[in-house]
Amino acid sequence: MTPTQVEIQLIAAVTAAACALPGVFLVLRRMAMLSDAISHSILLGIVLAYFVTRNLASPLLLVAAAVTGLVTVALVELLGRTRLLKADASIGLVFPLLFSIGVILISRYAGDVHLDVDSVLLGELAFAPFDRFELFGADMGPVSLFVMLGALAANALFLLLFYKELKVATFDPELAAALGISPVLIHYTHMGLVSVTAVSAFEAVGSVLVVALMIGPPATAYLLTDRLPVMIALSVGIGVAASLAGYWLAHVLDASIAGSMATMTGVAFLLALFFAPGRGLAAVAGRRRRQRLEFAGQMLAVHLLQHEGTAEECYESSLVQLEEHFRWDKAFARQIVRQGEHLERWRLAGDCLELTDTGRELARAVVER
């Protein structure tokens, strides 16, 4: 691997980690699409800041982006408060407008500059290493690496300092308010971080793929765990893995790195979707089937108990009668009976089913529940 390749992968990994942190709370607070909105509308902020400073590397761009992100969120809320539009429509109107203004400004007044719309939207990680950060004449590394490290640090710091507050504000806003934690403050700080992270990642992955890195790994982690610290750790891990895998995919195909990274976050999600223990589709399908069998078995035990010792005991336990009473088809009825026999809940005595002690216990426990 060449040093450039290493640098690109490093930037990719750091970007993924920096995006995963605020992304966890976007997913938990059901605000995932705000990342889409913000990552589009901050273009306007960047353009306006560029007009002021005429310098693409100016830190003012970061500030402008953060402000625009917050303005976006505020506008969406304002629109929603008029009661004339619902929340989703507000989002769907605000960010295209801001983004469009930004694109038009670029095309008309900055079209000849490096601020190419395509790259803002799409990013091109391959070019990142060409912009070097020089300290006292020494080459420290690519600028984007340091920018992303800064974003990562900011997010990590916020998380460390305000972990408890974030947790309460996310899961129990009323309790948070009662404890004196302002959910509004947390909210806008969170959104500010999302904006800053998004603009930092622009160069690497562009706006749409910021969304992939912010939402994909946390959503995947959400399928895998119930615990917040684990979810955060998993999100970072999955994000880094997906971004590195994406890099190699792009290398093999000679295609867009950012696109590949997003693709791999999708792959990671699909894997978890199917194979997550307990929550994955494979597990759920199995569980549903097991549940049906289990419930049917319990009902049969209760049914047998209810008729035990009566004259029709044998009649009521015959397969035909079971099919009639429970409206099971023949195959299912047979399956249930056999399952119960296997579990020693009852045994076949001639034509009738006799409850065992185990079966009787089960039936009683079910009735008492």
Binding site: R30, P96, L97, V208, D254, A262
Partner: protein, 374 residues
């Protein structure tokens, strides 16, 4: 440009017609998306269309608009299917599913597009115009493709009007009546995909969702009836589309998609502010008027109360007194002037006010004549 050049310029005509068609279709079908809170689903579907565009070209080698649009439609449809499945089967919520589908599909699309670009038979030039739209390149063939997809979609909407209306309003009740709700939902989603796909050439993938909801959001402010709303949305969409497309093809370096979005957003803003009944300014005026009326009555009541203390109902009182009594309830002066113009009060000297006979009568009617005072 004058009307004559409009009709004689082929490109302009094509562009305008195309954008108008797009606006009408997306506006009307977008109404249902808006009402069902599927604005962001539209966003996700339009981003998800990108890989479909690339694949359609890869598989068929053709860049014929109909082929591309069908590919885009299938991909968008797949995206919607994913969102619904993931939301229904796992604990992942809808917004996360939308964000996932939007970005991952788009990413896959990018990979395919850039991969196509690098190939030796790289004639994919033109495929990336689907990102932001390029109305200036619309030709007759494109219009035909749009019409072939769009008109049947509109006809289906009209045919199943009451079913779609019921589905959007109360799907559970629809189910209880025996309607196959899942299949109707499928139909509506498909119609939405068609609306999105038609606009891709003109507005592009990124902004298409705005074309879906903005006309409908504007239309909602002007009417309370679904039929009128759909019609208005179609009109607004067509107007915005046409205006934006024509402007962008006449002015240099003005991309089509963003220009149309600007037009249509302006329409939304105007509607939000000025529409009667729902419009914000309207509501503001209404509130103001009722507040003024309350203040007026309060001052009349004050005059009445003062006069009761004086035995002489037409005794005059200093403005300062009235102002003090109105403390915190808005200016007494304005109300006094209004009372004067209504003939219910009159100025006495420079600084005093009194009830007129008409005013006293009115006050008695409203506030009682002194008997039965608590």
């Amino acid at each position: 440009m004058d009307l004559l050049s409009f009709f004689s310029d082929y490109t302009l005509r094509t562009v305008a017609l195309g954008a108008a068609l797009l606006g009408a279709v997306s506006g009307s079908l977008g109404t249902f998306a808006l009402l069902r809170r599927q604005a962001l689903l539209g966003d996700a579907m339009s981003h998800a269309a990108l890989p479909g565009i690339a694949l359609a070209f890869l598989v068929t080698g053709s860049k014929a608009p109909l082929v591309i649009l069908v590919g885009a439609g299938l991909a968008g449809w797949l995206g919607a299917w994913f969102v619904i499945k993931v939301t229904g089967l796992t604990r992942v919520k809808e917004d996360s599913a939308l964000g996932l589908v939007l970005s991952v599909f788009f990413g896959v699309g990018l990979v395919l597009l850039t991969w196509i670009q690098r190939r030796p038979d790289a004639s994919q030039a033109g495929l990336d115009s689907y990102l932001f739209g390029q109305a200036a390149t619309l030709v007759q063939k494109d219009l035909v493709a749009m019409a072939v997809l769009g008109v049947p979609a509109l006809l289906l909407m009209l045919l199943f009007w009451k079913e779609l209306k019921l589905l959007s309003f109360d799907p559970e009740f629809a189910f209880s009546l025996g309607y196959p709700v899942r299949r109707l939902d499928l139909l509506l989603t498909t119609l939405l995909v068609v609306a999105i796909v038609i606009g891709l050439q003109t507005v592009g993938v990124v902004l298409m969702s705005a074309m879906l909801v903005a006309p409908a959001a504007a239309a909602r402010q002007w009417t309370d009836r679904l039929g009128v709303m759909v019609l208005l949305a179609a009109l607004f969409g067509a107007a915005g589309g046409m205006g934006g497309a024509v402007l962008s093809s006449s002015v240099r370096r003005l991309p089509t998609g963003p220009t149309i979005v600007l037009f249509i957003s302006a329409l939304v803003l105007v509607s939000l502010l000025f529409a009667p009944n729902r419009g914000l300014l309207w509501a503001w005026f209404r509130r103001l008027r009722s507040r003024r009326r309350l203040e007026l009555r309060a001052v009349l009541e004050d005059l009445h109360a003062l006069s009761l203390q004086h035995e002489d109902p037409y005794h005059s009182h200093r403005t300062a007194v009235l102002r003090a009594m109105s403390e915190g309830h808005g200016g007494a002066d304005r109300s006094l002037a209004e009372l004067e113009s209504q003939g219910l009060a009159r100025r006495v000297g420079a600084d005093r006010w009194a009830l007129t006979p008409a005013g006293a009568e009115e006050a008695a009617r409203w506030f009682g004549g002194g008997e039965g005072r608590a």
